[in-house]
Symmetry: C2
Subunit: 337 residues, 2 copies
């Protein structure tokens, strides 16, 4: 059973376990600082498929199959996949999972999807509605770029605050058994919109939501940033990360800077990889959390991580209609057991 | 706590209650056979907004606010909204809920979204992660038509198997208390794809998924169709409904025809309203379940309904790339208490 704590947070009496996780990425991500942490690096980012959308589906399926293998769980034992992605109608996920014959619940949280799927998956395992489930997500630079911005062939210029959509996928297997990594708390985010209209500055659009979720969580649990080995956002990039830290100090008098990291900053080499403000896309926190973070939690070099996935809930249609970009941030606490 | 039953189904020890529900619809739906069941009928389907997408958002917000009013729950008491819609990146939902300041978890199940949100919401209430949550969805003929098919101004011809996207929204408030309507069971659907490529024949694309969910559920629970007052699909329309009944008899030797109804067939007058095979869209089962069905369950003229929401998990992009249309169907049992 879960217990409500404070206004927005809940904790699990018996924490669902992470039995295994896997991440697969494209060539650029494989050349980044976390390259040796991923389960597979595709040097051909078409993955041999006929379209970028199909490539993304292939990646998500591979991450899921590898996570199942590492958790030693057969696909027939999985009682639910909780997954989603950035593409219209979540087709990256649908066509990736189509042949798997596993019950599937679709979620949409833009770049916060890894956190949202872990949140919903852990609730499902906690209730007993599923004993074993998989949380998964993906993004692909080429499918996202042409859907949200410009045709790739156009070669549009990217302003400094723009983030680079990660080509990658992550999957984690949750079980109702004791595992080396467990999910102890969750917080569902509220939509925050401060009126940012620049589709090339997603970090700034999402930072207020991250602020509200982190401040709410720390208040609800009566904890301080230093009670965590890491407060991990995904994916504010460098511009949004700085804004988040400033907002938390200014409006909440909370300094997370000693323990704050951001998946979008971690996945690329800011000096050498020409990615402007860093990585973004569902696959960014998907790949970072399901590889590096889970590995360090499993070995015990990290003990307690507050992972806050951030998403920008806009579409090209809403932007063309003059709407601003609403942000959201969902959080889970991942602990070494 | 939930208990697993058979291969795909789960039941709740203490069934989450439906404390209130509401449905709002457009002019055409108001003129249909269920017209006097809806909470509000908009005669101007722009709802006074500047775009069809904003109109859809206004409808979903209104359904949610009316459901809260009928459940006598303040928005500040709601610990989660589980909602989604058909629009790219679910903007109908996002911009509808933006000002509400309620924690929000997005789901994507195409036209099965009402069933998926009831499923995830009841699991959340069951676990204790939320004591009160709202499940909601919407669709709008004009925002869906121009996104999935043709510009409205083009006046494209509609083949006989085509369905008419419902302009409507539904919302239901779930609580961890005893209410006149309760959710006792759930089943998460698997993706089924028999290779249908006609985007104007969604009923046929979704019928195999409905078959698989209904047959799985009846087998898991060791029940027969006549154990239910109604097996309600949403939304196969007339073509898909006939196919579902035929498939169940032929492949599973199950005859649901005496108790089968379909939201897409019920919402319009097949003779007089020129809607070809019937209604579709998230708002179709959203509006029918959150008005007529919940009202009859509340008063006890229906006691036990297996509601199976069906969705077509395609996008215009996947169809243009030659992909077929995968279907999915999620189920919940709604009971008078």
């Amino acid at each position: 059973m879960a217990k409500r704590i404070g206004k927005y947070t809940f904790s699990f009496d018996t924490a669902p376990g992470v039995a295994g996780s896997a991440a697969v990425v494209g060539k650029k991500e494989g050349e980044g600082p976390l390259g040796d942490r991923f389960d597979r690096i595709y040097t051909d980012t078409t993955m041999g498929e006929a379209s970028w959308e199909k490539s993304e589906s292939a990646m998500q399926r591979e991450a899921l199959i590898r996570a199942l293998g590492k958790a030693n769980v057969a696909s027939s034992e999985v009682q639910a996949v909780i997954a989603g992605d950035l593409l219209n109608q979540c087709i990256g996920t649908t066509f990736g999972l189509r042949e798997m014959n596993i019950p599937f619940a679709g979620v949409y949280g833009a770049c916060s999807t890894m956190a949202l799927s872990l949140l919903m998956g852990s609730i499902m395992v906690d209730s007993g509605a599923a004993e074993t489930c998989v949380c998964a997500t993906s993004s692909h630079f080429c499918s996202a770029e042409r859907q949200f911005r410009y045709p790739l062939e156009y070669g549009g210029q990217r302003p400094p605050a723009a983030q680079w959509t990660v080509t990658g996928a992550g999957a984690a297997v949750l079980k109702n058994t004791a595992e080396k990594v467990k999910i102890t708390h969750g917080i569902i985010g509220r939509i925050e919109d401060l009126g940012i209209k620049d589709a090339n500055n997603m970090g700034a659009a999402m930072a207020p939501a991250a602020k509200s979720t982190i401040a709410g969580f720390l208040k609800d649990t009566n904890t301080a940033p230093t009670d965590y080995d890491m407060i991990l956002t995904g994916d504010l990039g460098s511009v949004g990360s700085q804004l988040l830290c400033e907002l938390l100090v200014k409006e909440e008098n909370i300094d997370i800077s000693p323990v704050h990291r951001d998946c979008g900053v971690m996945i690329y080499d800011a000096e050498g990889q020409d990615v402007n403000a860093g990585g973004s896309g569902c696959g960014c926190s998907g790949a970072v959390v399901c590889s590096y973070i889970m590995q360090r939690l499993r070995e015990g070099s990290l003990n307690k991580v507050l992972f806050v996935g951030t998403g920008a809930l806009m579409s090209p249609t809403s932007s063309r209609q003059g709407e601003s970009v609403p942000g959201i941030a969902h959080g889970v606490v991942l602990m070494h057991d």
